[in-house]
């Protein structure tokens, strides 16, 4: 966490990073600020340790574990892409699977049905996803909050219905169809694989899987770096400002629309890239249950909610937490067997435990694990005050207003 500069500005943006100073958005960063940006804060050290852990895990993993881990990496990538637009700009997307599906299916069709090499089909997938991002982002300017959430929820459902409609044939674009509910039976050529059609050839199935894992890991780190750079930049500050009060941003002379679309397309690009790369691994495939279902979108949201919205890193933290709960439940399942009253195995309870934790987090700890960590650190170690999302300016105003109304004693018979 940056130690904050000495600006007298008291308006703290809720993510707890450098205070928002509207007048200074276009200023070049000072040396102090740059030093802060790369200083080894405790959070960053933990983060690096975590990444190192993620890098080391495959060495001890079985083939089955490797598949699961590769899937996890992509889940984290999906989560980070969601955070960019929903965590930062506050435009809640409930159907981010739309972008994963666009990316994954485009590259599959291009590679399997048109013979285009992954080196070209993956960027094509990203491009299509970006177009999708614009398709949602531009109309999104005219609609707000709940309405946008609804629209984004429906987008992947519409896409799936179109895939079903054109399951055996889509003239020109997909001559063998988009395969509907069954999904593709052939995977596109892997980027890293043991077969001859792989872009990068590695002998041996296990070695190839590890190669896939590390490639995906590198992708994760690169995407993480890029997104961190963007969100810690001045553009990122504007994103956060838009979430808090869009009118204030306009009043400051900035065009929120430009930034909102930027966020959407960046998010779509990352999501599409992740989706495209995913289907080129053994763990992924162009199938509705892996790329398009409502559960995919919801799972991504839960990961970020748990990790911490508006942090980018929250997606990774949430992913680790998700993996831990899976392991714990698996162990409990072997140990305990059947739950008495409900008469079912512990594993069958999934995803209830994770959902419950997520619900509690949303309501009581909206800054997720990272926020909790921040607070813990602040209270017990550094002694600094940590800005609380609950005290964002607008919320404070409304709360004060309501309290005043109540204090007026207008309701004679109501409980206080």
């Amino acid at each position: 966490m940056s130690t904050g500069d000495s600006s007298a500005d008291t308006t703290m943006d809720a993510s707890g990073d450098a205070p928002l100073d509207f007048g200074a958005v276009e200023k070049r960063p000072s040396l102090a600020e740059l030093r802060d940006a790369v200083a080894p804060t405790p959070k960053r050290i933990v983060g690096l340790v975590g990444l190192a852990g993620l890098a080391a895990v495959p060495l001890a993993a079985s083939l089955t574990d490797l598949i699961e881990l590769i899937g996890l990496l992509y889940l984290m990538l999906f989560a980070m892409s969601w955070d960019v637009v929903s965590g930062y700009t506050g435009q809640l997307s409930l159907g981010h699977a739309f972008f994963f599906g666009l990316g994954g299916y485009t590259t599959t069709v291009a590679n399997v049905q048109h013979g285009i090499s992954p080196a070209l089909s993956i960027p094509l997938g990203v491009l299509v996803a970006v177009v999708g991002g614009l398709l949602i982002g531009v109309p999104a300017l005219r609609i707000r909050g709940p309405y946008l959430a609804l629209v984004t929820l429906i987008a992947p459902i519409i896409l799936l219905q179109l895939f079903v409609l054109f399951s055996s044939r889509l003239p020109v674009l997909a001559p063998a169809g988009l395969k509907g509910q069954n999904g593709f039976a052939t995977s596109p050529a892997p980027v890293v694989g043991s077969g001859s059609e792989a872009l990068i050839h590695i002998e041996g199935f296990r070695a190839a899987l590890m190669g896939q894992y590390y490639l995906s890991f590198v992708l994760l780190v690169v995407v993480l770096a890029v997104l961190l750079a963007v969100t810690r930049s001045s553009a990122g500050s504007v994103f956060t400002a838009i979430r808090e009060d869009e009118r204030a941003v306009s009043a400051a002379g900035l065009n929120p629309a430009k930034f909102k679309i930027f966020a959407f397309t960046l998010s779509a690009a990352v999501g599409g890239l992740a989706g495209a790369m995913f289907v080129h691994t053994t763990a992924g495939g162009a199938q509705p249950s892996q790329l398009l279902e409502v559960l995919v979108s919801v799972r991504v949201i839960i990961l970020v909610v748990l990790g911490g919205m508006g942090t980018i890193v929250g997606g990774i933290v949430g992913g680790v937490f998700f993996m831990l709960t899976t392991l714990v439940l698996g162990a409990l399942d072997s140990a305990v067997g059947t739950v008495p009253v409900l008469d079912t195995g512990i594993a069958n309870l999934r995803p209830v435990p994770l959902l419950s934790i997520a619900l509690v987090t949303v309501i009581f700890a909206p800054r997720g694990i990272l926020g909790w960590f921040d607070r813990l650190w602040a209270e017990h170690v550094s002694g600094e005050a940590v800005p609380d999302r609950e005290t964002a300016p607008l919320v404070l105003v409304v709360r004060r207003y309501r309290q005043q109304i109540r204090d007026l004693g207008v309701f004679g018979d109501e409980e206080r």
Binding site: S62, L63, T64, I67, E68, G71, Q161, V164, S167, S168, K179, G180, Q181, N182, G183, F184, A185, T186, S187, S194, G195, F205, T282, A283, G285, Q287, P288, S289, Q290, T344, G345, N348
Partner: protein, 493 residues
């Protein structure tokens, strides 16, 4: 292959006798069954390719052959449960046969009442064993999703080192597994999924995907042929002059629709042929159309939407009959699910708890019921067959090499092995849909070597004294040899 040594040794014959005598009724019923028939568990080689020498009887002594079952939620879901339980029953059956073989013939040989040649012959043809190997079943849970299925498949093939995988019901799951199956090179017998894509892949890229076979059910082209055959044989009898066809728009049923569309008009007057969406929930306008066209029966091909379609047909008491391929009514629990509204619905099926497709069908049903207090869904008998087919292949070839086993299975006709068909044969690498069960015809009236399936079942109210009062029974009304009851027209027509 792992060389796991079993603790079983071949000493006391007397001890085996005791085990045999003390065995459950389950074992006895099987034993009696195969003992009655000559050539039970036999494998006919296709013409002119008999290879004479048989592998040594105890070639795999001390080894364990593992079968991996991939089912959707095998603890709760009836489909998955049927698969897992049936695989275990098959393993038990083979294991018991092994013991049986030891006790009976070895004893006789020792006593001198049969010679070495007779010993060899009987070991191979009378009993379904795996050349001395023990057999173990490992169950994997696909959770009906491709992602988990991939993990479970790798666990079974790489960690458990199974020699065969069976199962899989959902089309999306088998589609997601095809590349892994190709990668691992372990034979896989699909025993539930009806997706057409795997067979096409085997046909298009044979060397890569050849490890995949579908033991059952029949693909929808075969079902379409059967449907036309049925109309030729029975439409007059049933008083059908006009039919309406409704087929759901899914990949599994597309071959069915395409085959019927161009041809059914030549067999019977078909004023209406519709493709319905999987999102169809309100069938009233469609039924209105059928009614105004004056059809006698709605011939359907419905998988995901079967329940709402059936309920609305029954609730609305439409003046036409209803059936065809109705996946939901193939489940024993369907009657209860619709609280009796399943009555009169007919469908094609491979086998029901009542039918006697082969000598093995009823013993399996009874054994299943005795062990698991319920009857299996059709994926169960198919899985049972799959395991025994594999055992037959091992027994005949004496090898565990996947490529050679694949060659053997795709080129032979298996007689007296299946609970569903009198002989099982697979389409070859050149067929459009490769490594699929070969369909000849269902009735002896149509061709020389009918396989007798699919059979046609109808849900009827149970007769007095049959199980739970008023409960539904899946009666079979065609073809002749497997018939258990007459077809009933809905009482409101």
């Amino acid at each position: 292959m792992d060389d796991t040594h079993t603790t079983r040794t071949r000493h006391s014959v007397a001890r085996r006798r005791f085990i045999q005598a003390a065995g459950t009724g389950v074992v006895a019923s099987f034993a009696g069954c195969s003992g009655d028939s000559d050539g039970g568990g036999g494998v006919t080689t296709s013409p002119g390719t008999s290879n004479g020498t048989k592998p040594p009887r105890n070639k795999f002594e001390g080894e364990t052959i593992k079968i991996g079952v991939l089912g959707p939620l095998p603890q709760e879901n009836p489909l998955g449960k049927s698969m897992a339980n049936s695989a275990k029953l098959a393993a038990k059956y083979i294991r018991d046969q092994e013991q049986e073989a030891d006790s009976d013939f070895l004893e006789q040989y020792v006593e001198g009442s049969i010679d070495r040649a007779a010993l060899a012959k009987n070991y191979h043809y009378k009993y379904e064993h795996m050349l001395g190997a023990d057999i173990e079943v490992v169950v994997g849970n696909t959770e009906a999703t491709p992602a988990t299925a991939k993990q479970e498949y790798l666990r079974l093939t790489s960690e458990e080192n199974v020699d065969l995988t069976v199962g899989v019901f959902f089309s999306s799951v088998i589609n997601g597994l095809m590349d892994l199956i190709a990668q691992q090179g372990v034979p896989h017998f699909t025993t539930g999924a009806a997706a057409p894509q795997p067979a096409r892949l085997v046909s298009q890229e044979y060397e890569k995907y050849k490890y995949h076979f579908r033991v059952g059910p029949f693909n929808s082209v075969a079902l379409a042929k059967a449907q036309l055959e049925f109309i030729d044989l029975y439409a007059d009898q049933l008083g059908w002059n006009k039919v309406g066809v409704l087929v759901e728009d899914i990949a599994d049923l597309k071959p069915f629709h395409d085959y019927l569309k161009g041809r059914i008009g030549k067999h019977i007057d078909t004023p209406v042929i519709k493709v319905t969406s999987s999102g169809q929930t309100n069938w009233t306008p469609i039924y209105d159309d059928l009614e105004s066209a004056g059809v006698d029966v709605a011939l359907v091909g419905l998988a995901l939407t079967g329940q709402s379609a059936a309920k609305q047909w029954a609730d609305q008491q439409r003046p036409f009959e209803f059936g065809g391929i109705h996946v939901f009514s193939q489940f024993p629990g369907f009657w209860e699910d619709l609280s009796g509204k399943a009555r009169y619905i007919f469908t094609m099926n491979s086998v029901t708890p009542q039918t006697e497709n082969t000598q093995f069908t009823q013993p399996l049903m009874k054994a299943y019921n005795a062990n698991f207090d319920s009857y299996p869904v059709y994926s169960g008998p198919i899985t049972f067959d799959a395991v025994r087919l594999f055992a037959a292949a091992i027994r005949e070839t004496g090898t565990l090499n996947p490529d050679r086993l694949v060659n053997f299975v795709e080129s032979r006709r298996f007689e007296g092995v299946s609970t569903i068909v009198p002989f099982a044969e697979f389409t070859g690498p050149d067929a459009k849909y490769a490594h699929e069960p070969k369909f000849t015809c269902m009735s002896g009236d149509t061709c020389d070597s009918p396989i007798g399936v699919p059979l046609w079942q109808q849900w009827q109210k149970g007769k007095q004294g049959e199980g739970v009062e008023g409960a539904g029974v899946m009666e079979c009304f065609a073809p002749g040899p497997v018939k258990t009851a007459d077809y009933q027209k809905p009482h409101w027509i």
